[in-house]
Structures are given as C-alpha cells and as structure tokens.
Symmetry: D3
Subunit: 136 residues, 6 copies
C-alpha cells in the first residue's frame, strides 16, 4: 500500500517576547535584539501540518481533512490564536517562545492526539522569510 | 557526482466529485460533505514535479526543463486540464478523485515515461490550504 | 472625515462551463475553446470584497470585519461554493458564468445587502493569471 | 509629462489590542471579540507605499527607491516594528490601533515628509485576508 | 451597460543596466548604485495588463483572454523575454530601462494595438518589493 | 535532544547566459534555447537556506537568524546580487550558471563557513515555476 502525505495549512496571530530570565538584561538584548522588547511584539504564524499514512481504499483519504482541521482548530488555534504566548499560555510560561520551541510544542500537542499509524511533520512560518520544521 | 532535485510547476483546472458508489447516499454525504455534490465542483490544481538526478557536466542540467515541461503537458495537462475527472478521464472512472488518488495517478503516469536513473516526487495542491505529496 | 477602504478575501470552489445556447456547437468551441467542455471543469475562485466608508470614531472600524465576513459567507459562499454554477444556481441558469458575469452577479448580491453609505468594489480571480474587477 | 505610480513594499511585526476605554468590558468584547484580549496579540503587517509623480527624464525615476525605502525605514519601521502599538508608541496611546487607524497614521507620517508634487496612497495588510487602503 | 476590468498576468526575464550616458561615472554610481553595474544584472518581470470595457452580452466577455494573451505574447514577450533590454531592443537603446520607462513603453506598445473602446492599465513588478503602474 | 530545521529566505538579481564554449553555436542553441542569448538575460533568484541542528536550551535557537542572515549577505548576496554571473564572478567564469550549478556553488560556499554540527540544504528558485534543491 502507498503512503501519501496530506498537508493542511492554518494561521494564528499572537504576541510574544524572546527572553531568558536567567540572563542579564544586557545578555538578553545582545542575543534577542528587537525580539526582546519588554512590551512584546507579534506575528501572523502560518502553520503547515503534514500527516503521512496509507490511503484508505474506501474513502481515498489518508485522513479526513475535516478531522485534521478540527484537531488543529481545537488544540492549536484555540490555545495560541489572539493570545500572548508568554502570558496567556501554559506551554510558554517557562519556555522561550522561539519559532523552534513553538514548532516542538505544536508537534507534541498534535502527536499525542493523532493515531499511531500516522507520521507527523510540522512547518511553522514566523515571517515570510523565517520558518522552521520538525522533525528536520 | 552530485544529485540535485529540479522542480517544475504546472496548473490544471478540473471539475470533480468525491463519491463511493458502494456506499449509501447518507454515508457519502457524511464522509465527503460538500465534496459529494452530485453536479460536481472544481479546483485550480497546482502541480509540482520534482525530478532527482545527477548533473550532466556538459549541459549543467539534471534534465532539460523543456523536456520535463512537455512531458507534463502531453501526459498530465492534456488528460486532466479543463476536464471533468469523473466523467472525462479513464483514470478516475472507477477511482475516487481525491487529492491522494490524483497524486498517485500522476506519479504513475510520469514514472513510466521517465528514465530509470531519475527519482520522481509529486506535490499536488487542491486548494491553497490543502495539498498532498507522493512519495511521502 | 476620512474614507478608508477595507478589503476581505474569501474563496469558493465551483464547476462551470462557458456556453451560449443560441450559438452552434462550432461557434461555442471557437469562442470558448476548452472552457466549453460539456462535462464542465472548475476553479478555486478567490474573491476580494472592498468596502469604502468613513472610519467610526468609537470603534475605529469602517465596517466590522466579522459582519462583512458573514455577509460573504451567507450570500456568496453558501450559493456558489462546491456547486456547479450552471446547474446548481439560479443566477447562472440562463447567464453564461464567465468571470465578468460572476463578478457582476456577486456585486449585485452584496450591493443590495450593504448599507447605502458604503461604496463596494469586487475583484475575482478565476486563476492566478486571470482576474476581473467591478466597477472598473 | 506622464504620471507613473511607484510602489515599495515593507514589513513590520507588532503587538496590539483593540479597546475603547470609554466602553464597558462587555461592550469591548462584543465589538472587538478576540482582538480585545487584554495581554495583546500580534501581526506581521505588510505595507505598500505608492508614490505618484512625473518621470524625471534624466534619471527615468519618479522617486529614487532608496530614498523612499529609507523614508519608510526611518519614520514607519523604526516606530512600529517589534513594538507594542498600544504601549510603545505615541500615536496609538490614545487611538485604537485598528488597521483603519494605522493606515491613516502612516499616511500622515509619510505625507508630511514627502514633497508636494507627489501623491501618496497606502495599503496595509493586517493578515493575508484583511487589508485596508487610504485614500480609498 | 456595465464596464468591467479584466486582467491578464504574464512574465518575462531580462537583463538590464541603469545608466545615463550624459552623466559622469561618478554621477551614475551615485544615482543608480548597484543597478549601474556595467555588465548588467537581471529580473523576472511580472506584468499585469488590465483592459476595461463593456461586457459583450453574447459571449459574456470584455475581451477574449486568448486574444489578449496572444497580444502580450507577440508584442511584449517576444521583444523583451530572455533579452538584454539595453543591447537587444530598439526601445531601450536610447532610453534608460527603469521600471517607470518600461511600463510606459509597454503601455504604448499595447495601446496602439488595442481597439479604442478599451481602456488600458499596466502594472509591472521589477521585484516582489518594487513595482510600478501606468496610468497612475 | 531534538533536531529542528530553520530556514532563511534571501533574494538576489543577476544576469546570466547558458553556454558551453566547447559546443558549436548550433548545439548551444538547440540545448539552451532562449537562455543562450549572447547578450544575457536575468532573474530574481529566491534562495532558501535550511540549517538543521539541535535547539540550544538557553536561547531556544538552532542558530541565531542574524548570524545566518549575515552569512548569506556577506558570502552569497555580495558575490551574486546585481552582477553578471558569467562575467563578474569567479565561480561561473568557467562553469555554466544553470540553476543546478548555482545551487551547488552556494551550498559549497555556505558549507565551508558553517560549523560541522549543522546540516545544510539549499533551495533556489530561478523563476516561480522552476526551482532546484541540493542535496536532493
């Protein structure tokens, strides 16, 4: 049987700030630059969720896109959309919300809710020019 | 020698309907929702054909893009562009034209016409937010 | 007071066929080419609805985007999304669904549901390379 | 002499919150919904600055794009990029940072710094699906 | 009768150099910077041709897109695609190929070949971030 | 520890010509077509540099994007932006500047300047419809 990848895109808009509380202000500014701004800044995050599995011969689907869309809506967008990642979310209260850490957090959230027969890959755009992928 | 991937994009516009004739109308509606509309709906399909091979030291090409473009034109676009996938094509008369099945059909069409030294990967966008890849 | 334009994008996927029943088959083929295919083809239509008005000093809005989004959803997408424009809609039963005619129909639908103080402009993409605007 | 429009794109990433301090919490939530989140959210704002003028016969330019780029950099991006619009900027301390108000503010900033022979139009994308223009 | 605008996109890839032969080398470098490089550089030019006219009640077309596409192909792309604008074209032998001048030249080429009942507007992208429009 | 991929986009505008000096004019025209134009043509090259590594637990970064951006600026854009690849660069004086060869050259330039713990992948768009990747 043939394994096919299906990809669903989604979007969320969040405020965040990059900061390591164990570092001095000087060190934070040096490493994170403008992204360390104390009052936060924000992004339109574009998310691509790739699910790999066998094509069901009855439906012709790897996974029902409506189910995948709802999974992303209920467990990613509800948490992060129109939120301040540092202040409003449990996940980033003690974890620096870099694109790298956000993609790992989203992968873990969706992995635990996706059946084992599927492989999962996440791509996250922070801006049009900067994006991350996990697993690499 | 170095293997490089070259990718060529193409487009086709088709009508289709998702339907399993062995299922009840109720079951078809439940699984395929709006995509089961009896009179069809349609898409601008965006296709990316990736060919992997060694770079020819004389031409600097993996494959002549004009040859690849013509291959896609003659064997994919001629069959599917401005067609009703369910009614006008042999391939989907008895196969549900989900994005997953379309990407498998296109891969098979091009694989049999591409020399063995090349690897072949296909990505197909059904909408800007939904796309598939084969092999995964 | 300052007039600002606000634009909302939406999408719908439809099947259609270009055909003039008063013309011969030959004439239809000559004028509409592949778009005359009897079994239809289809498109991902991208719609931009531009509403021009004064900025409300209390809300800072020209129009609440949620109201505009719902108007498009209820009166345009519900009618045309995942439909066959020629067979499933009242508007195009006797009107050729060219991009020009679709943009005029959508403008009329929304104009009658939008308060008089607003100006309305519609842009409709049939493909990435072909689009129309009304009023011009 | 022929008037030509030249357009330069730029980007900035900001946090903001929609809120009218003269309204009740209930009213704010009703009008602004998720955008009223007390801890802010954010966007990648895409800006298009259009300058209209006569083509200089010696340079073939309406305006030197490097001068226009620097003007946007110095007076728009320096103020708003990687900032919290509500907290970090003078312009939006007492003005609700809706897309409509942001486009008016940017137009005023640039208008006062652009020579009189030029016309100025601004387009601002808040998300891929929502954008505004001034003048309309 | 309703006037509708129809827009067709096209692309061409050209080399060019910005230079005023009546200026000193120093002046040319100051005004045109990197664009003055003696051995040329190049762009993927994206062209949008907008034609405004009344919708023909028989065809539902403002203008047959195939005719418009051929007009662009025969009179713009044949001249400028895969050419050096400064060396290979009559139009820019003695005219500096800035985006402003290119858009004026293309407008004149197409205007003289388009019937009088149509209005014509051209947009030309030199890069994703820089583009021009005529008439403004 | 988790390996994450971070991707940075960049752009450069260059003139080039495809030509094999050991072939006849006829052979060059047959293989390279319009791309063999003696006076060059050009492209807006879009570059995606993917760096794979472990996420640093202190910064939350795989690699500081400012460092990656500067590396691309100093060693790729400085060499190739607003240049004639055939005439102005050492790398392509004796190497045909096909997209395949350009991607290999850029990979080698960046590989030698990137620490060993990172993996490196390059994608290069020559046009919107043609692009290459290395390693495949």
């Amino acid at each position: 049987m043939s394994k096919v990848a299906v990809i669903r895109k989604a979007h969320f808009n969040s405020a965040h700030r990059l900061h390591n509380p164990e570092w001095s202000e000087e060190m934070n500014k040096k490493v994170f630059g403008k992204c360390n701004n104390p009052n936060y800044h924000g992004h339109n995050y574009d998310l691509e969720v790739k699910v790999i599995g066998e094509v069901d011969p009855l439906s012709g689907y790897v996974i029902d896109m409506k189910i995948l869309k709802d999974l992303i809506e209920d467990h990613v967008l509800q948490r992060f959309d129109h939120k301040n990642l540092n202040l409003d979310t449990e996940e980033f209260r003690n974890l620096n919300p870099t694109a790298e850490n956000i993609v790992l957090v989203i992968w873990n959230i969706l992995r635990s809710r996706l059946e084992d027969q599927y492989d999962l890959h996440i791509r996250l755009y922070e801006t049009e020019r900067n994006f991350v992928e996990y697993p690499a």
